[in-house]
Symmetry: C2
């Protein structure tokens, strides 16, 4: 199933997870795979951020496609730039901030852990 950029909705969230400014969320799929609960391109303008939060029973994957910024990865602060990727598994925390002068754009996917046996 193809979804063209022009047909995708862009959701905006203010001060997401206690972060700063506006987060632009372009949802990439109309129907998500059963084990995926979020799949989007996220844009943070300079100075904007998503606050630190925990993932439980799932993993969030980020891959940065343009710009530069800072993340926290289970409490550790690190610089990131286009080409880098992060993985935040069950019980880990993260945050992301655009500390550069251009938009920070990344693809985010949240994949649920398998049901307990």
């Amino acid at each position: 199933m193809l979804r063209r950029e022009k047909d995708m909705s862009v959701e905006t969230r203010e001060r997401m997870r206690g972060g700063k400014g506006t987060v632009f969320i372009r949802h990439l799929a109309e129907h998500l795979p059963p084990m995926c609960r979020f799949y989007a391109e996220i844009t943070l303008h300079p100075g904007c951020s998503i606050g630190e939060h925990e993932h439980l029973g799932e993993t969030e994957l980020f891959v940065f496609v343009s710009g530069a910024g800072m993340v926290t990865d289970n409490g550790t602060h690190m610089k990131v730039k286009a080409g880098d990727a992060t993985s935040t598994p069950n019980g880990h925390t993260h945050s992301v901030a655009n500390t550069g002068t251009d938009d920070l754009v990344f693809i985010a996917a949240i994949i649920k852990d398998p049901p307990a046996a």
Copy 2:
């Protein structure tokens, strides 16, 4: 867990799935989520392609980040460009070809369906 671009391995595959030329696969995570079996940035130089194939018991997600090309989506041919996204669920087929003059780059993730109840 942060993985920097410079630390990622780039795998090359020739005539992948019966396609043309070389496919460059930059693996984005060292440890995949339990329900994810593939997560990579894929680059096709002009004229290169991945041949048509079926996905069973899983969904493959593509989001195109640069360039332009053609996909098949369950047998239907469609143009794609940066910003577009495709989803190939259980029992569906797809292929992708770089028909443009610049590299075609996309993020690919394969997410397994939940175990049968």
